[in-house]
């Protein structure tokens, strides 16, 4: 049995009239790299602050290493945080910043010196002891913040959008370094970001948050290929969401009548009934185009826009109902002209049902 280092049980939190967390529960295993992904205001930072003890939940509990720490002060929790803007102490130099938590624990002076030295080595800033935070670059401050937070070997490290203030190139580099660091130290990382790419690159598991709820918890692959809800499908990558009524089920394939026309999806594990209302998602890179009609499909659309985005050809189509459908490929459809009428289709297994009630599964 794998050890759960951290458990959240049915946590709610409101600020005034706004309910920020609406009952979230989660178990995190030792050594995991887990990412909370969501847009601003979804409650991810509040979740982190509750874990750190900087905020107390209205109801529910936080278990750290099996122990209820809900009412434990932040300074008594075996958890450390890297803050969004690093929160280095401006009146202390790099050494004093990193040594702070050891000093509070009355660690002998020469041991502090040795460990701070090790830490500076680890974050590649040897010789920077006497610098003040204001004399450091953004990336260097970031490293000091990391060193300060991990020197105490916390069982869980919380990272609140730590790379948000860095430019793209440095961001990529720091992503690699953080990932390596986590492997090396074996500390559980709880990482917050609104950047889906960052989440997919770094995490063992991703928690997609929306309006104070967990939309889906899963590995990056699961989240990407099998979004459970239309929110997750839309939030990660570019997805087309269709909704309609099941018309016919035959040989594991469901024909679905949508406002745009007839579509087909693999029923998979779902026990679909004829006449049932369903929604499903098709990723833009799985959207296929044909000049001739395709079996099980009747989805005519006109090309309304084509453009290159990040080395991909992105084509938007206007179907019958008018809500645009997007397809992206590496330059295959370059011969499709604006206004041209085509038939859209996809491999039935590439349509993923979303927003299904638990009972339907």
């Amino acid at each position: 049995m794998v050890e759960n280092i951290l458990e959240l049980k049915d946590i709610t939190k409101s600020f005034g009239q706004t309910q920020v967390l609406r009952g979230i529960s989660l178990s995190i295993q030792k050594g995991e790299f887990i990412t909370f992904l969501g847009s601003s205001g979804c409650g991810k930072t509040t979740t982190l602050r509750i874990i750190a003890g900087l905020e107390s939940p209205d109801s529910g509990s936080v278990l750290l290493g099996g122990e209820d720490v809900t009412a434990v002060q932040p300074n008594k929790r075996d958890v450390n945080t890297i803050f969004q803007n690093y929160a280095l102490f401006p009146h202390m130099n790099v050494y004093q910043n990193i040594a702070y938590s050891l000093k509070l624990r009355h660690v002998p002076k020469d041991e502090i010196k040795r460990r701070v030295g090790d830490m500076l080595e680890l974050v590649q800033l040897p010789g920077y002891e006497r610098r003040m935070p204001i004399e450091l670059s953004g990336g260097q401050r970031q490293r000091v913040a990391i060193a300060r937070a991990v020197i105490n070997n916390p069982s869980v490290l919380l990272l609140d959008e730590p790379l948000g203030a860095l430019d793209l190139q440095l961001r990529r580099q720091m992503q690699q370094e953080l990932k390596k660091l986590q492997k090396r130290l074996g500390i559980t990382f709880i990482y917050i970001t609104h950047d889906q790419e960052e989440a997919i690159n770094m995490s063992d598991r991703i928690v997609v948050m929306n309006e104070g709820r967990f939309e889906q918890i899963g590995t990056p692959g699961e989240i990407y290929d099998h979004p459970k809800t239309s929110f997750v499908a839309r939030f990660i990558g570019t997805a087309n969401i269709f909704s309609g009524q099941v018309k016919r089920i035959e040989g594991g394939l469901a024909e679905i009548e949508t406002p745009d026309g007839l579509c087909c999806a693999a029923a998979g594990d779902y026990a679909l009934r004829e006449g049932q209302r369903v929604a499903f998602s098709v990723r833009s890179e799985n959207m296929l185009v044909a000049k001739e009609p395709v079996e099980h499909f009747d989805l005519p659309a006109a090309v309304s826009e084509n453009s290159y985005v990040g080395g991909m050809l992105r084509i938007a189509f206007t179907p019958r109902a008018g809500e645009p459908i997007v397809s992206s490929k590496h330059g295959i459809h370059a011969n499709i002209g604006l206004g041209e009428r085509v038939n859209l289709y996809w491999k039935p297994e590439n349509a993923v049902f979303v927003d299904m009630q638990e009972a339907d599964a």
Binding site: G53, S56, D58, S59, T70, A71, Q73
Partner: protein
Amino acid sequence: MKKVKNYNWALVLPIYAFTILFVLIPLIYIVVLSLLRKDILWGVTNEFTLQNYRKMFDPVYLRTFADSLGLAFGTTVITVLMGYPFGYFMAKLAPKRRAFVMLLVVVPFWTNALVRIYGWMIILRAKGVLNHLLMSLGLIDTPLKILYTYGAVLLGMVYSLLPFMILPVYTSVEKMDWSLVEAARDLGANAAQAFLTVTLKLTLPGVLSGFVLVFVPSIGLFFISDLLGGGKIMLVGNLIKNQLMQARDWPFGAALSVVMMIMTFAIIFLYRKLTHSSDLEEFF
């Protein structure tokens, strides 16, 4: 429910205990006092009356109020006329010079008002520096009477309160987004139009803030009219002082204070309504 405890109430307790005990309760006491009848000698009775407020409608006192408000308005208008250009030009100076001028403006704020008023007495008195200068230039034959006039009091008021106008104006000009003026010019406004429609409008909160900071204290600076006006110019401040220290009519003094307080709060309330802000643009 288990919660992380906090003791913030204990931290704010002293400041509120002190302010409530020594400022708020005394204020309420003054309101009560203003409603009591004065005893024949100088104590108060327990009898409630509106007599003290009615007394203010005596033409003598009405006149004092009118004079006081007139002086306060005059002071405010002159400080706006002098202080606005000063704050404006100051904000447009190069940073180094600006810091220096700022220091020069702030210094008088720290120095004793009395000392500075006294300096004016040296200059203005009959055998003072100014008359001496004017006579030696041959402009006048006999010394002018400058000290102990209304003009001298007005001068002293303007002089003492000018920094309170300059600083908020400076702050609001300094904060201004100059690209808006450029946009106005770009859209066809001439320099004067751009100033009137953009700059002045955007810096108005500073002027209003200065208005409050000048107008409110100018009602109470009794020592300026005492020293520069020679006690001949009676202001509400002097009246209150006299009721307390000489006439010993405390209920009347209290009533005068209550009226002044209401006026003050009305001005501050109006300021907040007009600028939609809760803080005066001060220079702390």
